[in-house]
């Protein structure tokens, strides 16, 4: 290991944040760019499944809360791209990678939102999982990223609570509403567990990321945390988690759960999810149709800078 690298690792071990101007190993930079931009892309693409229900929200209050949430997501996207930009890559380059299919976004957004209950399930399960994933990152080694995550997590916890509140209203509603809630839970449960990524045994690059403190807990640990947190909530709602193997283990104090269908996970990741093509096409179309607009703003700025 070179001196630079040793010093760098020592700072991390000492809990000192790395800042944009500091020296860092190329692999650290690259890993972070990939991780942060993937997160940013997820915020941006993540607007779409929820945007699908804004115009059909059942009350003005729910519509308002949902709109505010989507606005937050665009905001998260913006400051995550800014955090990535501190690592020497431009937002346009990152978007280009998204649009060409090179960069990934969270696979969860490749599932369709089929009923209003999905707005509840996404808040409750998907944002819930996201928070569990992200809270440790508030303490990650890269300063701009850790600060962005602090801001993101604060808002995400609102979103999760609002999602749970939607589920609560449905669970206490008419039989049809309760069925809607149960159906949403059925469809979103397993994909939410998959959000934590492959089992530790199959996870690549984890060791290095841990050492660099940009991954602070293993996928399986975080997934367990999500299950432990969510099962009692589902019980309170009177809904059934779609996993016949689920049971509480009094000895460990944790819930045991059934095997995840990793074939589905990899299939969706490969592009076979119900909405992969559509999500990307929507974003690419928005981008392409917006080109004349962005060009106009640039042209105006150029003229008036002279």
């Amino acid at each position: 290991m070179a001196d630079d690298e040793r010093a760098f690792q020592a700072r991390i071990d000492a809990g000192i944040k790395i800042e944009a101007k500091d020296w860092m190993p190329e692999a650290y930079r690259k890993t972070l760019i990939r991780q942060i931009s993937q997160h940013a892309h997820s915020e941006i693409v993540g607007q779409l499944p929820e945007g699908n229900w804004v115009t059909r929200a059942p009350t003005l209050k729910r519509k308002s809360i949902l709109l505010a949430k989507i606005q937050d997501e665009a905001g998260h996207g913006l400051y995550l791209y800014s955090a990535a930009e501190t690592l020497g890559v431009s937002r346009d380059e990152l978007l280009e990678a998204l649009h060409s299919g090179k960069a990934k976004y969270s696979s969860i957004f490749n599932y369709p939102t089929l009923s209003w209950a999905d707005m509840g399930a996404i808040g409750w399960l998907v944002d819930g999982s996201a928070i569990i994933n992200q809270i440790p990152l508030c303490r990650c080694s890269y300063g701009p990223y850790s600060r962005a995550m602090i801001r993101v997590c604060k808002e995400e916890s609102f979103h999760a609570r609002q999602g749970y509140d939607i589920m609560l209203a449905l669970a206490r509603g008419t039989p049809e509403q309760k069925a809607m809630a149960q159906d949403a839970l059925n469809r979103w449960w397993w994909p939410s567990l998959m959000m934590f990524g492959p089992s530790d045994a199959d996870s690549v690059n984890s060791a290095q990321s841990s050492k660099w403190r940009i991954k602070l807990f293993s996928n399986d640990e975080l997934r367990q945390r999500m299950v432990d947190q969510t099962v009692p909530q589902a019980e309170y709602l009177g809904l059934t988690i779609p996993d016949p193997k689920l049971k509480f283990n009094a000895e460990t104090g944790h819930y045991e759960f059934g095997e995840i269908d990793w074939a589905e996970f990899h299939s969706v990741l490969k592009g076979n999810g119900p909405c992969n093509r559509e999500r990307l096409r929507t974003r690419v179309t928005a981008w392409e149709e917006g080109e004349w607009f962005r060009d106009a703003l640039q042209a105006y700025a150029d003229k008036h800078a002279k």
């Binding site: 913006l78 928005a286 917006g290």
Partner: protein, 252 residues
């Protein structure tokens, strides 16, 4: 002042805000730039908030037990009182922004006038909304300037939108009996005055934007305020009202 008239007038205010908010919501996550996505949602949210204030007051005045959701989700198209401009499709982003700019300009001067309304509740809601609508006006005016004076393409596209939507701008100032009654009661500002403010502001922005203003005396469409809409509104409502219609009596 006759409560029923005020109720009807509040519906116009609320319906304008709701329908435009709904149109903007259709663009969620599909704007031409991330900053626009943020801004669109922001404006849609402001308008939705205003809708709720107008509707709540309207429901109280009516005294028939209709709350904001009953007014939003359980009226058919002929009962809506929004101006035709606001139900026009989003079109391309120049259409979206010109529609917004025509509305924002009128809305700003209207809300500003309503802060002096003889109806204290209306004045208070206007006061609360004034900052929001001032921001909307600044934002859309600024964008019109940049699009008009941007590229040749953006200039042409914006000019086309300016002309296409012009015939829907007059309805906002075309005061019918109800509007007149509101003016007479000191509840609403004068239409002719609003119009002259509107023409002056739109004119000055267009000038800066190198856009040509269509003739002020051009033929203007009307009917929305009286419940005679374009064919677009029915589709907007069918989508918006689905859940309330399909699951009557449910609480969400």
């Amino acid at each position: 002042m006759d409560k029923h008239n005020t109720f009807e007038y509040l519906l116009r205010l609320g319906d304008n805000a709701l329908i435009l908010s709904q149109r903007l919501s259709q663009l969620c996550g599909k704007g031409p730039a991330m900053e626009e996505d943020m801004a669109l949602t922001n404006v849609a949210l402001d308008l939705l908030g205003q809708t709720r204030l107008w509707y709540s007051y309207a429901g109280e005045l009516e005294g028939a037990g209709r709350d904001e959701d009953a007014l939003a989700f359980r009226r058919d198209a002929h009962e809506f009182r929004n101006c035709l401009l606001l139900e026009q499709p989003n079109g391309n982003y120049a259409d979206t922004m010109v529609r917004q700019f025509y509305f924002d300009t009128w809305h700003y001067f209207l809300i500003e006038g309503l802060t002096r309304s003889s109806d204290a509740r209306i004045a208070a809601i206007a006061e609360k909304s004034l900052k929001e609508v001032s921001y909307h006006l600044r934002r859309s005016g600024d964008l019109i300037v940049r699009l008009g004076d941007g590229t040749e393409f953006s200039h042409a596209r914006t000019q086309t939108a300016v002309e296409a939507l012009w015939m829907y701008s007059g309805e906002m100032f075309a005061y019918d009996g109800l509007d007149q009654a509101m003016v007479a009661a000191g509840i609403a500002p004068d239409g002719a005055e609003l119009r002259s403010h509107w023409l002056a502001h739109v004119g000055s922005i267009f000038k800066e934007a190198t856009l040509t203003m269509p003739p002020a005396d051009a033929w203007m469409q009307s009917g929305g305020k009286q419940g005679r809409h374009s064919e677009h509104l029915g589709y907007v409502l069918a989508e918006m009202q689905f859940l309330q219609r399909a699951y009557p009596g449910a609480t969400w």
